[in-house]
Every structure is written in structure tokens, then in C-alpha cells.
């Protein structure tokens, strides 16, 4: 809690709404939501029939435990558009993120959804001090990934000047940052570190820059990283959280008090569950974060299991916002990895290797950091079929495997062949991940 600057609150009426009023609003929206999904999404109707729950049984947020969960696998089973609640003619945007297998997780937005997302990103970025005077450099990837366009629409909604840089091209990012007088940088914290070190290594004094704040998300980061980024870039660094299934970035956002991320509860109802039993836990206890989307039209989700572990804190915040705060993420309940902001599941790698003839299914994903950027090396055991007497053939094979894996993951993966039997196996089940990244 270094700089408790009081930035203007974007939507004070809602963001500072007394909690009982907020609860009334949630209850109203929840009832309408249940009617909508029951009428329009056969998947939910069938699930509710199976447990004998009717829309009338859900009157308030307290009734949420009566409703079925949704998991990533449900999106996969209904790939690509099966859970959409509106005709395709009303969908104006499609994004996608990693699935647990070769197929991505697809999300669709109506025009109202995009409007709501822009509004919540405007709230979020305002909490980081963005105003219509700001120059916002968006260095999240643009494309199927929600980061780039999410931050872009939010900053535009505020009236800031947006530089749609997308990721990479560090020298050019730094040049424009100086020339255009960027005040806010939006990117992954690991890329912010790359930018900060590039600025330092290029010998550019911070006084040549106009940077004030950073909106950093898409991967978990620590207080240690915050301190380094704030020093390196001379900014206030704020954590933003989101997932494409629920909306994208801006599901929750830190305020200048840096004491947890406010979940925009007028649109999303969070629950924290015991990940093993699925039983709701009271505020203050660590568990799996689950969201119900109250207002989304394209892809409304009931009790979506994020597999992210956190703690919720409903106590009033110094900033005046009343929306519950979630603590920085402490881990996952599944084996999902976040590498350079990209969600990666070992099962995706397993699927690709299994589809390549002669290639061994035994692998180990080694995640590391090099120059502050995550690296992914996949060690694959060499079979007799893969063996050759020429280096060229083996290297061609490595490239082919790397190409197939990288295209499914959406992330470059180096392939390293290992002798048969050399990769660790424990309890008959392979240990598939070795995460050697240093977390401060």
C-alpha cells in the first residue's frame, strides 16, 4: 500500500453501492438469468431437470448451491457454440482460449456483452488511474485472446488515447512509449518486466517517460514482482483478473489500495468452494473461485469453476468501493499452467504427441524463465521409430513435433528428445510438469 492516490471512481453509484442494495440487484438479475438459461440453453435445462430444480426455486444468491456447476469440459463437450444462449445472428464477437485438449474454449458476445465488458474494463482501468487524459499502450496480444481487445475497449470507453501495440517488438514499444508519452501500460507482468529491463538497458532515464500506471494481468504475479515493476518503471502496478469464459480481463481489479481485486459483483456472483467436496466456504477461507454471470447474454454461465484458488474479503475497502475483494491467486486446483499469459494444459501436449505416429507419449514439460520471459521445453522420450542415423532427420522430427505442439498451445515449445525411460514416472502416473520459474 504505497500510493493510495484517490483516482476518480468510474461508476460511483454501482461501485460504492451498499452491500444490501448490491445483494438485491444480484438477486433480481439472478432470477432473470435463471429464466433465460432455462429457456434458451438445453444443457442447463437438462441439468436442472436432472436435479429437479425449476427456475422458481432460485430466488436469491443463497439458492446458488441448488444450481449445477459448469466446468471447462462442458464447454468442450458443447464445442463450439453449444452453450450460447442467443441465436448466432446476435453474436457480434468470438474469442477463444486454451481448452484441455486440442480444441479451444470458445466464447461469444452479443453487442450488449461487449458494451458491458467495455464498461467493466473502464471501471477497472479507472481504478488504475486511467482518464481521458491518459495515453494507454496496450501490449496484450490482440486476437482470439481477450487481453488486447478487452483493454482496448475499456481504455476507449474512458476516452483515453489508445496505442494498440499488441505484444512483442520490445524496442519499438519503448520508442513509442517515449515518443507518444505513454502514461499507462497494459500487458502481462512478465512482459512489463521485459519492457522495464529494456528501458534500463537502453539507458533511458525514467524522467524521459510519462509512465504512471500499469494494468497487469493474464498470469499470477507476486508482491515481489510488483515492487520490482514499480521501481523499474516508476509506476503504480495494479493487478487485473479475468478469464474469457466469464468475460475476459476486468472480472476483478485492484484499486490503488492494492489490497485485493474488487470483483464487479453487479455482473458476477463469486463463490468460494471446497475444491474436493464442492461445498461453499464462508468468506475468509481459501478455496476454488466459482462465478455465475448475471448479465451476460451470449454465453451466460452458472457456477463456472475457475479452478483458481483464492480468498474473498467483503470488508469495506479504503477506496470506498463495496465490491468484494479476492486475494491474489495462490494456485490452481487442476494442472493448468500459465506460460507467458497463455493457459496451457498438459493434456493438450498429450493429445498432440498421441496424434503423431511413432512418437512416444512420455513427456515432461519444463517451464523456466529466461530474461524474465517464460520458456517451455517439452522433453519427449525417443522411441526406436523416431531414431535415425542422421542428425538432420532427428532435428526435422523435433521441428515437426514442435510445430504441432506450438500450434495447438498457441505458444512456442522447444522439443528436446530424451532417452527412453529417462523421464520421471511416479505411482504409475507420469509426472508431466517441472515448473522451475522463480517466484518472488
Amino acid at each position: 500500500m504505497t500510493k493510495q492516490t484517490r483516482h476518480a471512481i468510474w461508476d460511483k453509484t454501482v461501485e460504492c453501492m451498499p452491500r444490501d442494495q448490491l445483494r438485491d440487484l444480484q438477486n433480481r438479475r439472478l432470477r432473470a438469468l435463471i429464466k433465460r438459461v432455462y429457456a434458451n440453453v438445453p444443457f442447463y435445462r437438462d441439468k436442472m431437470h436432472a436435479t429437479g430444480v425449476t427456475p422458481g426455486d432460485v430466488k436469491s444468491v443463497e439458492d446458488l448451491p441448488k444450481l449445477p456447476f459448469t466446468d471447462k469440459t462442458d464447454l468442450r463437450d458443447n464445442y463450439p457454440f453449444g452453450l450460447f444462449a442467443v441465436p448466432q445472428s446476435q453474436i457480434v464477437r468470438i474469442h477463444a482460449s486454451s481448452g484441455t485438449t486440442g480444441k479451444p474454449t470458445v466464447v461469444g458476445y452479443t453487442a450488449n456483452d461487449i458494451d458491458m465488458w467495455s464498461e467493466l474494463m473502464a471501471r477497472s482501468m479507472s481504478a488504475a488511474g486511467v482518464t481521458n487524459q491518459s495515453i494507454v499502450q496496450v501490449a496484450y496480444g490482440y486476437g482470439l485472446f481477450t487481453g488486447g481487445l478487452g483493454a482496448h475497449y475499456g481504455a476507449e470507453r474512458i476516452g483515453a488515447s489508445v496505442i494498440p501495440m499488441s505484444g512483442g517488438n520490445t524496442q519499438r514499444q519503448v520508442m513509442l512509449m517515449q515518443d507518444f508519452g505513454t502514461t499507462t501500460i497494459a500487458c502481462t507482468p512478465s512482459y512489463a518486466m521485459v519492457l522495464g529491463e529494456a528501458i534500463r538497458d537502453m539507458g533511458i532515464p525514467l524522467s524521459n517517460l510519462k509512465l504512471q500506471s500499469g494494468v497487469f494481468g493474464a498470469e499470477p504475479w507476486t508482491e515481489g514482482t510488483r515492487k520490482r515493476l514499480e521501481t523499474l518503471l516508476g509506476i503504480s502496478a495494479q493487478d487485473i483478473y479475468g478469464l474469457s469464459e466469464i468475460m475476459g480481463p476486468g472480472v476483478s481489479m485492484e484499486c490503488p489500495w492494492q489490497a485485493g481485486m474488487h470483483i464487479w459483483e453487479d455482473h458476477f456472483v463469486p463463490e468460494v468452494l471446497d475444491p474436493d467436496t464442492g461445498k461453499p466456504l464462508p468468506f475468509g477461507q481459501q478455496g476454488e473461485l466459482v462465478f455465475t454471470t448475471l448479465t451476460k447474454e451470449g454465453l451466460p454461465l452458472l457456477r463456472y469453476r475457475t479452478h483458481d484458488l483464492t480468498v474473498l474479503d467483503p470488508m469495506p475497502c479504503g477506496c470506498g468501493r463495496t465490491h468484494v475483494r479476492m486475494r491474489k491467486l495462490v494456485g490452481r486446483t487442476d494442472d493448468m499452467l500459465i506460460i507467458r499469459g497463455v493457459n496451457v494444459f498438459p493434456s493438450q501436449v498429450e493429445g498432440v504427441l498421441g496424434s503423431l505416429p511413432g512418437v512416444s507419449p512420455h513427456f515432461l514439460m519444463v517451464v523456466n524463465t529466461k530474461n524474465n520471459m517464460d520458456t517451455l521445453e517439452i522433453r519427449v522420450e525417443l522411441t526406436r521409430e523416431m531414431m535415425s542415423d542422421t542428425v538432420r532427420e532427428i532435428e526435422d522430427l523435433q521441428k515437426r513435433i514442435s510445430g504441432s505442439v506450438s500450434s495447438v498451445l498457441g505458444l512456442h515449445a522447444e522439443i528436446r528428445l530424451s532417452p527412453p525411460g529417462s523421464l520421471p514416472r511416479s505411482e504409475g502416473k507420469a509426472k508431466r510438469v517441472l515448473d522451475e520459474r522463480k517466484r518472488e
Binding site: 531414431m387 528428445l417 530424451s418
Partner: protein
Amino acid sequence: MYVKQISVFIENQPGKLAAFAELLAREGIDLVALSIADTTNFGILRCIVCDYERAAKVMGDAGYTARLTDVLAISVPDRPGGMAGAIHALTAAGISIEYLYSFVRSAGHNALLIFRVENLEKAAKVLADAGVALISQEEVRTL
């Protein structure tokens, strides 16, 4: 006409080659010729041995990924220009060499050249026509 070469995958890490060499020593496997093609992460050790069936089994049992390939072995005079004639014949016939290594069993006599080419049959004929002495698997046993 051809000779069986064993190719073995060896990780490029300290001690890996030593362990392999110890295996050969322990099993009494005599190397007639040897080369290693190396990359940052791994090497391919290629060798010619007298009893390749037994050697391949020993390596496989010890957990190595080994592969047998037909290669050409020729004997050339161990003096300057000894190799040139053979290479010239192949080049003139448009046969490119994937890789090559050589071994001298006893000083001053003939040198052994091991070749890997795409078209073994054609290369063997070209070399024979050029008067180059081809060595067979049986002859390897007696070297």
C-alpha cells in the same frame, strides 16, 4: 556388399558417453570404426562392430535407442589422395554423401572409409567400377 552400422542416441551431458563406453568394455564389444555427430542436446554415435547383432541387443537391453543402417565401407590406401579417387567417382556419378567417417586399423596400410548415401546400390556399383575395394560385413569380422 554392405556393412551394418549401429547408431545410438546419446544425450550431450557429462558422463553419458563414458557410461556407453563402459558398457562396450564390459561386454567385450570391439569397435572397428566410430564417429559421433553432435548437437547441443544430443549426439548420434555411429559405429561398426564385428558382431552387430549381439552389440545391438546389448545396447537395447541397456536402455539405449539403437538403430541399424546399411552403409558402404571401402578400403583405400593410407596416403595423400587415398580418399580423393573414391569421392571423385561418387561425385561424378551425382551421388551425394550424407556423412562419412574413417578409421585406420594399423598404421601405414589401408584406411577404412564408411559412407552413408541415399542410393546404396548405385554407389556400390560406381565404386566397384572405379576399382575401389568394397568391404563386406564378413570382412569386417576379420579386420
